[in-house]
Amino acid sequence: MTAADKPDRPTPPEAGKIVAPVRPMQPTTASLSVVINGRQVATNAQTLAQLVLERDLGEAKIATALNGDFVPAGRRCETKLRAGDAIEIVAPRQGG
C-alpha cells in the first residue's frame, strides 16, 4: 500500500491521468468513443499505444488489432485512433 492509498489522507489525482472536466460545457480533451474488445469505451488516448497505457497494459504480454487488422507492438505509437474504431487487445490463454 502506498502513502496515497491510506484512507486518512486526501487522495490526489493519479499521476499521468487526465482529470474529468469540471465544467461540462467547455470542451477540453477530445474524448473518443471506440470499441475495445467488443465494448464501447470513451478514451482520451489518441494512439493505440496511449490506449494500451491508459488500460494499464503497458507492461503486459498482449497483442493488438485495429478494425480487424493486426497492429504489431512497434507500430502502436504511430497508429492514430478515430471515433468508432474497433480495437482488440488479446493475451495468452489456455487452448486446445
Binding site: N37, L57, F70, V90, R93, Q94, G96
Partner: protein, 319 residues
Amino acid sequence: MPLRLSRPDKVANKGAAFRTGTQHRLLLSFKDSIKHVRHNPMMSTQDTITTAAAPFKVYGHELSSRLLLGTAQYPSPKILSDAVLASNAGVITVSLRREGARAKSGQQFWDLIKSLNLPVLPNTAGCRTPREAITTAQMARELFETNWIKLEVIANDDTLQPDLFGLVEAAEELTKDGFNVFPYTTEDLGAAERLIGVGCDVLMPWGAPIGTGRGLNNPYGLQTMRAYFPGVPLIIDAGIGAPSHAAQVMELGYDAVLLNTAVSKAADPALMARAFAGAIDAGRLGYEAGLMEQRDMASPSTPVAGTPFFNLEGTGSKS
C-alpha cells in the same frame, strides 16, 4: 506450388496402406531410436519408460514425442503442469483471448507455459472467417514468438467442423506471410491436396468433432488418407476420448495425436496423460512392427500337424 501427391500407385502397393517409405526409414532407424529413454519426474526411477518409437519431424523440427497436448480446461495450473510432464508431450497447444484492463492473467499463463519449456503451437480457435483467423495468427505469432499456427476456421457451431474453403484460403495467405501452418481439417482428400498445394507440410484431420471424445468416426477415410499421403506428417486432431483411440491412431500409421479434453477432463489428468503416453508408444511400436492382416475365418495358431487324436477321416476320435 505444384501438388505433390496424386499417386494412386502408392495405394495399390501390396501391404496396402501401411508399407510406406516413411515406415521403411523408421524401421532402419529402429536401432538408434531404441536408445531413447525418457525420464519423467512424475514417475519413480523404476517407472522410467523406455520407448523405441522413432521421433518425427514437422517443418524441420524434430518433436520429442508423438503427443501434442492442449492446455485448456484443467482444474488448476498445477494439474496442467503435472499432466504435461506426465504426458511426455512434444508440443503444447495454446490460444489467445481478450485481455481486460489491468488484468494480468495472460502474463501468469505465459510464465507457466515458459516454465514447461516445450514448443508451443498457438491455435485460432473460434475463428469463423479467413480474415479473423489470419489476424489471430498474426497476433499469436507476436505473443508466443513462433511462426507455428494451428489453423482453425470453423464452419458450424454444433459440429465445430472446419470450413475447408476458408481453411485453404487462410492457409495460403499465412504461408505467404511466413507461417508454418498446421491445418485442422477433415479426411477429405481434395481439401488435403489443396492444403498441401498452398504450402502446408503437415495435415491435422479430425478423429471426431472437437470435445466429443468419440474416437475415430471414419477409420476407413483416415486409413485412405494415410495411404494417399505416405510422406506427409499426419496428426489426428480432435475427437480422441480414450487411450485406446490414440493407440488406434498410431496403429493406422498416423504420425502423432493432438488431444486436450480427454486428459484435462479426466478424474486424474496426470494419470490419464501417462496412460496416453503409453498408448501412443504402444500403438506406434505396433505400427512399426507391422500388424498382421485380418482374416474373416478362424485359423489355428497351434500347429495342426501332430494334433493328438486327430483322425484323417475327419470324424475325430470316438470310443
